[in-house]
């Protein structure tokens, strides 16, 4: 009995060690990247694995001065904030009408939006490029907001509609009896109730917008308007690659995401799973 117990304990210990190694290998590349970005190019070349002996922000200063990372950062931030706001407003409105009303063309619109979740975005690259060229929308500050909002809508509408459907009708009926208009009911009464699902939509759309690459690569040409993912590729092709500087640039791109994730990890995980499994 005792031997069995000891064997079980040893087994459990080995198991824990193995899983711990796996977990650490999931973050090691990121940790390595971040601490290496604090080394000088020389120190890194001499010993690529050791911790920085004299941490320095020199690489960050250079990433901003020569590679203009702060511009890409601002562009990403701008595009993400505007896109997320529009996705939330649009999906809330459309989701509400889908959840509450039967109207002409509802089925058609509904199918059209839901089918959007299946469309592979790469099929849209060429026609969107051509379309934007015709409309003079290529390479503008607002360019990327168009596809990001359009592609974010299907999932967001789906989540909103499912959520609103479960809100009891009595709440709106009471509001109408009190003489509230549709607009007032919509934004003063229903919107606050939707807070939990709105935060899910914000997380999902903010992440996919911040990380998006293909459209940014095709639709934006001028350096001053590039977002972080494209800015990074630029960085490595244009300058003679200084690895530690590239690492600092990558860190600038991922730090906001990592901090947000660590602060709200439960909510983020739940949101991404809700988005993926689609109910």
């Amino acid at each position: 009995m005792n031997i069995k117990k000891i064997a079980f304990k040893i087994g459990a210990l080995i198991l824990n060690i193995l899983v711990m190694i796996l977990s650490l290998s999931a973050i090691f590349p990121i940790v390595w990247l971040i601490y290496s970005s604090l080394k000088t190019e020389r120190e890194f070349a001499l010993s690529i694995a050791s911790l920085p002996a004299h941490p320095t922000f020199e690489n960050y200063v250079n990433a901003i001065k020569t590679a203009k990372m702060h511009i890409y950062f601002f562009n990403s931030l701008f595009t993400t904030v505007i896109s997320v706001i529009l996705i939330v407003i649009f999906s809330f409105i459309v989701g509400y009408f889908f959840a509450r009303y039967q109207f002409k063309g509802r089925t058609l619109l509904y199918t059209m939006f839901l089918a959007g979740m299946l469309i592979p975005i790469h099929a849209l690259l060429v026609p969107l490029f051509v379309q934007f060229k015709v409309f003079g929308l290529l390479d503008r500050r607002i360019t990327l907001i168009f596809p990001y909002v359009g592609l974010g809508l299907p999932m967001a509408i789906f989540l909103m509609e499912n959520f609103i459907r479960d809100i009891p009708h009595e709440i709106e009926e009471a509001a109408y009896i009190d003489g509230a208009t549709l607009t007032q009911t919509l934004f003063r009464i229903i919107l606050p109730i939707c807070k939990p699902i709105i935060s899910t939509v914000v997380i999902l759309s903010a992440l996919s917008t911040w990380n998006e690459f293909s459209f940014a690569l095709v639709l934006i040409k001028s350096d001053a308007l590039k977002t972080l993912p494209v800015g990074l590729t630029n960085f490595s092709s244009q300058y003679t690659v200084k690895y530690t500087q590239l690492m600092a640039a990558i860190t600038i791109a991922i730090l906001p995401v990592i901090i947000t994730y660590l602060a709200f990890n439960k909510k983020v995980i739940q949101g991404l799973v809700a988005g993926a499994v689609k109910g």
Partner: protein, 294 residues
Amino acid sequence: MERQLFKPRARIFIAYLSLPVLWYLFVVVVPLVLAIRYSLYEWSGGPKMKFVGLSNYIQLIHDYDFWFSFKNNLIITLLCIIGQIGIAFILAALMTTQALKFKEFHRTVIFLPVVLSPVVIGFIWMLMYNQQIGILNWVLRAIGLGTLVKPWLDDPKLVIYSVSVPLIWQYIGFYLVILMASLQSIPKEIFEAAEIDGADGFKRTIYVILPLLSDTLKVSIMLCIAGNMKVFDHIYVMTGGGPGKSSMVMAQYAYNNSFIMFKLGYGSTISVGILVLSLVIILLSRKLMGGSEK
């Protein structure tokens, strides 16, 4: 449908819905229709557009490079199904045992790469694979496996496996969390009963957990196929499809044709081809697995 509330007039519907609907038509529906149209033309972006009927599609069927890319997509998909869902399944099963500690920590940490941009993941692994400064070769040397040191991304035979590793690595956490969520909806008594009946860890996993998760596993496999048929960002950053064409995938091939060689017509044909092939593979695998609950 449910009972109707006080119903606003049509003009209010139009006022509220027109902007989102027009927006969506402009950036999703119209381009999709145009993609099909362009796929029937020979066109390099200029004013000259030559209608060629289905000949682009005939060319696509005989295009060795396209089918080679498709084969690479299949290899990546297969490796990802085994790697991502396999590892995630084992971890999810372990998460149900008492023996494993720090479950919360493991889940949080393993999920972290999921939220990062694929471009960033590509860059990080490019650095890790690097010949001079890569940590991978450094580790191999440090633990006395110097003979295994390789030019991971420059060896045409190896590269397709090298580019799959970051993909697998990034999304294990995603499938882990899906599987864990589905295990949480199963009453704890089932696991306890299995333990009382004397089922050991292995038997418990195979006979209790696997059947309970089969539907979720099927959904995961579908997600995995759909995701890997359109894989692009990682590859673009790490190899651009090279060396030569050895790590070329369909999306990269479509991109190269459309935006490097400016064959906009043929590029569209390729993307329609990707769409069709993805659907076929998804339907086929659904048939093979005996259909999922949805």
